[in-house]
Symmetry: C2
Subunit: 206 residues, 2 copies
Amino acid sequence: MNIITISREFGSGGRELGKRLADLLGYDYYDREILSAIAKAKGMDEEYVEKAMENGFWRSVPLSFRHSFAGPAMLATPQVELLLEEKRVLEQIAAKGRDFVIVGRNADVYLGEYSPFQLFVCAPEEAKLSRCRERAPEGEKLSDKELLQNVRRIDKNRARTREIITGSKWGDRANYHAIINTGDWCIKELVPSVAEMAKAFFGRSK
Amino acid sequence: MNIITISREFGSGGRELGKRLADLLGYDYYDREILSAIAKAKGMDEEYVEKAMENGFWRSVPLSFRHSFAGPAMLATPQVELLLEEKRVLEQIAAKGRDFVIVGRNADVYLGEYSPFQLFVCAPEEAKLSRCRERAPEGEKLSDKELLQNVRRIDKNRARTREIITGSKWGDRANYHAIINTGDWCIKELVPSVAEMAKAFFGRSK
């Protein structure tokens, strides 16, 4: 089973890259489905779960979280429950034994034992703002400054959550097989070579 | 003209990747030739130039260096002279108009106006140590600790020199089109997909 995990800066096009990669390779694709599954398992609203796992989420996760997968010694806060459910959902997907691409959800960490191809996708802030503008819900009227604050806040949240779960740094080149900066090219044109790279990784002799 | 610049952590295999990439694409390849050309132009010994540009080199480059390409206002220290010669040599190579791969020598910065495909290559410290061991001159007897100190010292020098020249961070994902971590696979198996990525970059419509 081949797994590609995509971590990404908000607005960098990581989701588009992941979707196109899955289509090209004929892999399953997971993204928001994970949130739905967590919400369903917990009997919560999907949007509530999404909000709960953003914006300062990490502040309520005890620092002991990453040492506690093995034992019951961890404080069972609602935030910890959500992270554990996230892990369970990811493991259920892996248990299917089918190749897949997954975007976000700390999958590179939770699924580490399956030796996934770990990608990180980034872009310059200008490119991220313009992507966010293109994809904003109709009627959303944020100034550039507000939008930029949003982008930075979401990335900060992702970074802190990852650090608490793993103790290692989000977006650090040491933690991924490849980092792709989408700023200077079209994702559509870039994807075939990323697919080749993933195939080389899964077929590696080392 | 297509230019691929490869910046790399010491021992990460960036040079091997660059050489194989050039062979596969049929591009010219530059690496130590730059040092020889600088040495020749300055009437210095190549080994002397190499040593002079390593190890604490950046300490003697004035912080004003990156603002001073345009004017004569810069202090002409021997170190500045070497950097300017480096820039001249790179421009002479680019003036040939032939596609090429170049490893190191701040080429991503100096040749920025040619829109090169900018790669950064890294690896875990363990992999770098083992690569250094394999390639050490016969009779070199460094302990793991000494070797690790060497690796870190050289990378620190590269990082500081780049920061002084450009004001931007060495190895930071914002400054490259792609970062490849060679730790988990063979460079030989990885290279064809990197070549595909470079081709996608040079053929991009954006």
